[in-house]
């Protein structure tokens, strides 16, 4: 082996160059990379400190404020608390300024500066990056400077690559975050931050699949806030939104980690309870906690709001078809809870689905029935105390081609919900006009008035009066031959509008009566403003008039009201002689009911009148 001084010197330089170069770890972030490189330089070159300067415009947020020096250069140094600032040494400052003013070149420029006994070895590179080695007592030999220059050049390249890599990584990270944000938005409700409907459906489908593999079962609790629309309408949507957030927070507190609370729709929340031991007992406990969430008022902007919820519960298991079906079942149970009195949580039962299917079927068939003439009208005569017919109420009937006779209570309810009551109401009006036209051909001693029921939805249509006027004009009948029956509750929906509409109808010539009087908790205060002609005492009071004092008292009070406001009075649902006698005794002289006549086909009614 050659041990000549020149060989040893060369070997030593090669060793230094290799070790410094090899300390560059391409996988490390820029700071770790510089730290390692500078540590190696300090150890291998026996220097006191090392500094790297880079223009901040290329480094993003790499440097903190106290690392940024003059000329907008960021500084990384080792050790990092050195009180020395080479960039402030006049000769070094001038060198930096000179390099920074030049266009960047792809080669390393070196310089040697001595300042107050300290030796600085400067290396400058393209893109205006600087590397400085600081040494006490003696400078680094030129041979060493020459040997490490390529290693410093490597540092510059690696720094540049590392920065570019960081930029790519941060860009990828930004995109990833944006994607995560999008995914979050897609599966979460923005207002409450809870899982949304899509998330809940996916989650439940996964649980159903788990049930299929492990023979498990779980439950869904469907929580629907009652009268939420009223809160939005009366207090504003901001209050409504805040209320939803507070409800979400209360519900979240009662849920276990494995349970999923989500906002299924506007004012409906869902708790998905995965399978667990003693599920029924656990559900009982959880439902109690859910109810407690609504037992105290919510405080929003110093306003105390009382909120109730209707709750539907259903189980799911391996036999459940899919999430949609399970949620529908829970929704059905919730709907049942909403209309039930005395209970606010209802468990799903199979017949609920049948009822829903029937409602859906009737809703669909109703539209066909109107064109296929499956609807028809019947008339129930109204009589005076002598039994003479003074009028009739026209009632709609539906003979379904497959299901047979459908009760009006059933299909009118559906029609009102779906809005089909509007075309159906107009059809009834047409039928009433046709009846009156036919009546006009009969030789009658006294005029007969025909009454038809008008639904609230129809009544409150903006152009209700115009529409019925068109029909009346088409049939050339007298308006006074028709009596419109409006339920008490319909009038109470919007009392001012009701008064205005009734007044307008009266001006045209219609007579109006209040149907089902007594059931809507009426008060005298509003009755005196309503320009109606007649009150119909509801059958529920009539049937109990001889059995309960309170029913008799209501009928007597109604009689008094009618007399006070000079209104006509008729009792409906009269079925016995005793009821007739009592009513006559009270002062009621007009009746409608099975005791006198059942509802009958129109032709039969005409025959009855003719005879």
């Amino acid at each position: 082996m050659d041990h000549s001084p020149s060989y040893l010197a060369t070997l030593e330089l090669v060793s230094i160059q290799y070790e410094i170069t090899r300390s560059l770890n391409a996988n490390a972030d820029l700071r770790s990379l510089c730290r390692r490189y500078m540590e190696t330089c300090i150890r291998r070159l026996s220097v006191r400190a090392a500094y790297l300067y880079m223009p901040t415009k290329y480094t993003g947020a790499l440097f903190s404020a106290n690392e940024i020096t003059c000329n907008d250069l960021g500084r990384i140094c080792m050790p990092n608390i050195t009180a020395c600032f080479p960039e402030q040494v006049p000769a070094i400052k001038a060198f930096f300024t000179e390099i920074l003013s030049e266009p960047s070149v792809e080669h390393v420029v070196t310089k040697h500066v001595v300042y107050q006994g300290t030796y600085y070895h400067l290396f400058a590179f393209t893109a205006h990056t600087f590397f400085v080695l600081e040494r006490n007592h003696t400078p680094l030999p030129q041979l060493v400077i020459n040997a490490i220059t390529p290693a410093v050049e490597d540092l510059f390249y690696v720094c540049r690559a590392s920065l570019q890599h960081s930029q790519v990584v941060s860009e990828v990270e930004r995109r990833k975050q944006a994607e995560q944000q999008l995914t979050f938005i897609a599966f979460h409700d923005q207002l409450t931050g809870l899982p949304n409907r899509t998330h809940l459906i996916n989650e439940l489908n996964q649980h159903i699949e788990l049930c299929q593999h492990h023979e498990l079962s779980g439950a869904i609790i469907y929580i629907d806030l009652d009268s939420f629309r009223d809160i939005n309408d009366s207090l504003g949507h901001l209050v409504g939104d805040e209320l939803l957030c507070q409800v979400a927070q209360r519900l979240q507190k009662i849920c276990l980690e494995q349970e999923v609370l989500g906002r299924f729709s506007g004012n409906a929340f869902v708790i998905l309870c995965p399978s667990q031991l003693n599920l029924p007992q656990y559900l009982e406990l959880l439902l109690r906690k859910v109810h407690q969430c609504f037992s105290s008022n919510y405080l929003i902007d110093d306003r105390s709001i009382d909120v109730n919820a209707s709750i539907g519960v259903t189980y799911f298991s391996a036999s459940s078809c899919d999430a949609y079906t399970v949620y529908m079942q829970a929704d059905l149970a919730m709907s049942k809870a909403k209309v039930s009195t005395g209970t606010s949580s209802v468990f799903y039962q199979q017949d609920m689905e049948k009822q829903t299917r029937r409602r859906y079927l009737l809703d669909t068939d109703m539209r066909k029935a109107l064109t296929q003439q499956d609807f028809f009208m019947v008339a129930q005569p109204q009589v005076n105390q002598l039994g003479e017919i003074i009028g009739a109420e026209l009632l709609i009937r539906w003979q379904h081609s497959q299901l047979g006779f459908i009760s009006p209570d059933e299909f009118i309810g559906i029609a009102e919900k779906t809005g089909f009551i509007i075309p159906l109401g107009e059809w009834i009006f047409e039928q009433a006009c046709l009846c009156i036209t036919s009546l006009q051909t009969l030789p009658l001693k006294n005029p007969i008035k025909l009454a038809i029921n008008v639904s609230a939805k129809q009544f409150y249509q903006v152009d209700f009066i115009e529409r019925i006027s068109v029909i009346i004009n088409k049939h050339h009948i007298k308006v006074s031959d028709i009596e419109l029956e409006l339920t008490e509750s319909a009038m109470l929906e919007d009392i001012d509008l009701a008064v205005a509409k009734i007044t307008a109808l009266k001006q045209i010539g219609f007579e109006l009566s209040i149907d089902d009087f007594g059931t809507g908790y009426s008060s005298l205060s509003y009755l005196k403003h309503l320009p109606v002609d007649k009150i119909k005492i509801d059958r529920s009071f009539v049937s109990l008039i001889d059995k309960r004092d309170d029913s008799r008292a209501i009928v007597e009070a109604t009689m008094l009201i009618a007399r006070t406001f000079k209104l006509g009075l008729i009792a409906e649902g009269v079925e016995t002689q005793a009821e007739v006698d009592t009513l006559i005794g009270i002062g009621c002289h007009a009746f409608q009911g099975y005791f006198f006549h059942k509802p009958m086909p129109i032709d039969d009614f005409f025959n009855l009148l003719a005879n």
């Binding site: 040893l8 070997l11 030593e12 090669v14 060793s15 230094i16 290799y18 070790e19 090899r22 300390s23 770790s32 730290r35 540590e39 190696t40 300090i42 150890r43 291998r44 070159l45 026996s46 220097v47 006191r48 400190a49 080792m78 050790p79 990092n80 608390i81 050195t82 009180a83 040494r135 006490n136 007592h137 003696t138 680094l140 060493v144």
Partner: protein
Amino acid sequence: MTAIFTNIEYTDEATKERVVSLIEHTVNNGAQYVLVLIGCQSTFRIESIPELALASPVPLNACVIPGVIFGEYYSYKGALILGFIHPICSLLIPDIAADHDLLCQQLQQFVVTNGTLGSAAIFVDGLSSAVEPFIATVYENLGSDRVLIGAGVGDINNRFNYCVANELGCFRNAAILFCLSNDVKLQVEGKHDLSHIAGPYLVTEASENVIHCLNYQPATDVFCDAISTASGIDINTDNIEEHIHCYPFGLKQLDEEYLVRDIIAVKGHSLVCVGNVAENSLVYILHATKDKLISAANDAGAQFAAKLQRDIVGEMQYVVLVDCISRALFLHDDYQLELDAINAQLPSGKKLAGVLSIGEIKNTSQGAIQFLNKTIVLGGL
């Protein structure tokens, strides 16, 4: 050193009763901070320290080290109890292998409290593989303006034993940093005077403190050939372990002595050193002889004495010695000669107090902090 010590107590047989009694004596002497250095062969267990520290009216820290030195005495079974006149601000780092950012955070607490000037001492688990990166992190945070002296601590017979303790518990892979003074700089001298007998060799494969290949050849083969040639003794894989303590590696440094790396074990064709050896570094094989070591001790003492500033010599009662355990193990009973050589060079009235360490720590002439082997480090304030 009287400026900072109330007293230093020494015992050559550290039993629990003896150590407790010396701690009490030191506290009664007015010490505001107590440091207990326990020889690794003593019967006193470092596990007793947390309880003693909790009961102590002043902060108490302890380290296990291979041996203790006091005056002309040294002992592997003894203990030194150091009492400090003023409250000492120390920092215990429970895991020197922790994440770099966490270590920086901990060291910055020390910097915030004590600044960056003055003197400090450090005891760090010398058997930990994280010792050198940790030392680099200490330099990164403390800088070159605070002069440091330190020792690698631990039980050379069982690297898994605890080596650092205070009222919080016992730790391994840990370090304690002491601020000795915020304005006065320590006078430190380090020396080994070993010269090379073979090399240079390029370290072509290494991982941390294990050298696998030299000049692209298995490290043991190169080592055996070189030593056989230099000594005339046939050294092979069967008897290599008998010779490794006489032939440490020396890493070539610019303007500094060789950085010694003792070889402590042979693993297959690899040589295990005390302290890291980087790939691509240039190493020589050094030769330690009894005469050289004792001569170096003499020189170290003389150079240290010459370096001491006149204004502090008068006040100084103790000279701190951090001496490598490998020197003591190599010299056996002749180690006493090394101690005598150092003592002979010290100004009169100055007493040695120190440790036999697993690696020595001091600043280079440039200021960087280095983890040394087989070196004598003397310090005085």
